[in-house]
Amino acid sequence: MAKGKTNSGPRKPKLAVWKFSSCDGCQLSLLDCEDELLTVADSVDIAYFLEATRAELPGPYDVSLVEGSISTPHDAERIHKVRRQSKLLVTIGACATSGGIQALRNFKDLDPFINAVYAHPEYIDSLAKSTPIQDHVKVDFELRGCPIDKGQLLEVINALLNGRKPNIATHGQCIDCKRQGNVCVMVAHGQPCLGPVTQVGCGTLCPGCQRACYGCFGPTETPNTASLARWLGDRQGHGKREVKHLFRGFTGYADAFRKESEIHE
């Protein structure tokens, strides 16, 4: 992170929030920070954030939060403009960091989908694949999740304002599960949980409710998907198709998950 300035400093950092192909859920996490929103608004100049305000200040920006994947030729061009105007570029959410749920199309031919979904397929101008931002421009920091966790978003803004490294862990869900005292759904109930290979961030929302992890935060720092898949198949009796679908979810196009699902094709 660049050296941050506190709000007592001479100039507030200029923040922009950009949307690419996405559902807006991650941007809304920022508006969701009810208690802290005023302090945030006080500490940064929100220069561009269409979900929240019409005001548009020209670049360059100190920080750009980028939501969404690159899914159209227009996206592919625009992301370079955003990069050029941003000192720090932080991707937020599964779309921006791994292509999103719309990247499921990457595993198939695009045309039949377009023909099936749109009344006028001729108006649709889509790229064959939905890809993450880091495939196109340099990314300085990423926040995972579908959607992102508002606590993690605040932590990044907080770290930036206070000139310190953000405390964003890259280990797996299981560490958080055990810290919280959850009973493991894999061991105690035989559910197929992606937690051991999924990065933390959500506060173990699903395992905390006795439901296996869906992998929204994408692969861990060193995901051994092959071993997990072997156990799900050989010991829990899940079929090839189930294992394929398990890895092919919200972050199915993230490298490790994509490769694992392709093995079970």
């Binding site: 500490s43 304002l161 299981c174 055990k178 810290r179």
Partner: protein
């Protein structure tokens, strides 16, 4: 065991319902009572208000990567063994605030959180887990630098231990020399007996606090037969251990640091750290600073972490132990070999939690056995 009158009085026999009275007495003495209770399909440790909160009639079936509870007429309050929780959750909590700091004109002030923790009574501490608490005592208070938070929480804890009369599928305390017979260090120890229509506890005090409690509980003096029956039940448990650790494991591991088995286990290991989280002696943590948005308040927190995570071994220039084999080897050699050099005993009590709660059933005893069966091989 609980034979002759010890320094704190002779053993007594209590009817099963005395357990409820015991919990009430402890609560009246100002203790928060923590004991085994069923939640989400497992026996965990949490506050209990009475014997009704304990998992009466429930048994656990444990294997590598698998845990299931079932009902059994043969099960009393304590015939289950250890579950996913351990006592370090209370003595060395997963999230600890070490200090808070506030910006003041021209500087800052530091506040250390209140050093007086709640008085807690741990009910149902097994032999392996009392041994684990004592190993952590050595780590946190037995050497040059003492952890004041741990020391205070430990000093405020009262231990009601339980001898196991049934061993679980992944237990191996007998081969680690820690159980199933509870060793010294308890305040009160119970051995449960459930035969026909008799349901009772043999109880022995191990401290003045334990003796005072026992005095207040309804019961009778134990006869020789009561003591013998309890001894026989514990001996039976020690003969039916689900697992065994190979002999001489300390030297074995030290002499096989380049064994190809490390690569094999690395292919199975998920690096998920469940083994270290459930282990009652593992103590690794991360320390990080948190700030308020305006930067006027900060706190330093310590959270459980593990040698299986990359960020944990990050030092200047990068993370050490990037390979899976190095991480698994670090864990098992620390536990079973180098702990001896560092703390004068094994770091493993044989509680078996790491085997049961490993999502892919990696078994510390099986890994050691595989190396023993094929000693001296090195990576080719």
């Amino acid at each position: 065991m609980t034979g002759e009158a010890g320094a704190f009085g002779a053993p007594r026999v209590l009817a099963a319902k005395a357990l409820d009275q015991l919990i009430t007495l402890l609560a009246q003495d100002g203790y928060e009572v923590i004991g085994p209770t069923e939640r989400d399909g497992a026996v965990v440790y949490d506050t209990v208000d009475g014997a009704a909160d304990l998992p009466l009639g429930r048994l656990d079936e444990q294997e590598g990567g698998s845990y299931r509870l079932k009902s059994s007429r043969k099960a009393g309050y304590f015939h289950h063994v250890v579950g996913p929780h351990n006592w370090k959750r209370f003595l060395y909590p997963p999230h600890q605030v070490l200090f808070t700091a506030a910006r003041r004109r021209g500087g800052f002030s530091i506040t250390v959180p209140d050093a007086a923790p709640p008085k807690r009574a741990f009910v149902g501490v097994r032999a392996c887990d009392l041994a684990a608490i004592q190993k952590q005592d050595t780590v946190f208070t037995g050497r040059d630098y003492k952890d004041p938070g741990y020391a205070a929480r430990r000093a405020a804890a009262l231990v009601v231990a339980v001898n196991c009369t049934r061993a679980g599928g992944t237990c191996f305390c007998a081969s680690m020399g820690t159980g199933p017979q509870v060793g010294p260090g308890y305040d009160l120890v119970l051995t449960e007996r459930l035969t026909g229509d008799r349901h009772e506890f043999l109880a022995q005090a191990g401290s003045q606090a334990g003796a005072d409690l026992l005095d207040k509980l309804k019961g009778r003096a134990a006869k020789d037969d009561d003591v013998k029956a309890a001894e026989a039940a514990v001996t039976k448990a020690s003969r039916s251990m689900g697992r065994t650790m190979v002999d001489g494991v300390e030297t074995l591991l030290k002499e096989n640091l380049e064994h190809p088995r490390w690569d094999e286990v690395a292919r199975r290991c998920l690096y998920c750290a469940n083994c270290t989280m459930v282990c009652p002696t593992c103590f690794c943590s991360n320390t990080q600073d948190e700030t308020s948005l305006d930067g006027n308040e900060a706190q330093r927190v310590r959270t459980w972490n593990s040698c299986f995570s990359i960020e944990f071994s990050y030092i200047h220039g990068g993370a050490i132990r990037r390979e899976g084999r190095s991480r698994y080897r670090q864990w098992i050699t620390h536990k079973l070999a180098h702990w001896h050099d560092q703390f004068g005993s094994s770091g493993c009590t044989g509680c078996g939690r790491c085997i049961t709660w490993c999502p892919v059933g990696i078994d510390i005893t099986e890994e050691a056995r595989a190396i023993a069966a094929d000693k001296g091989r090195t990576k080719t």
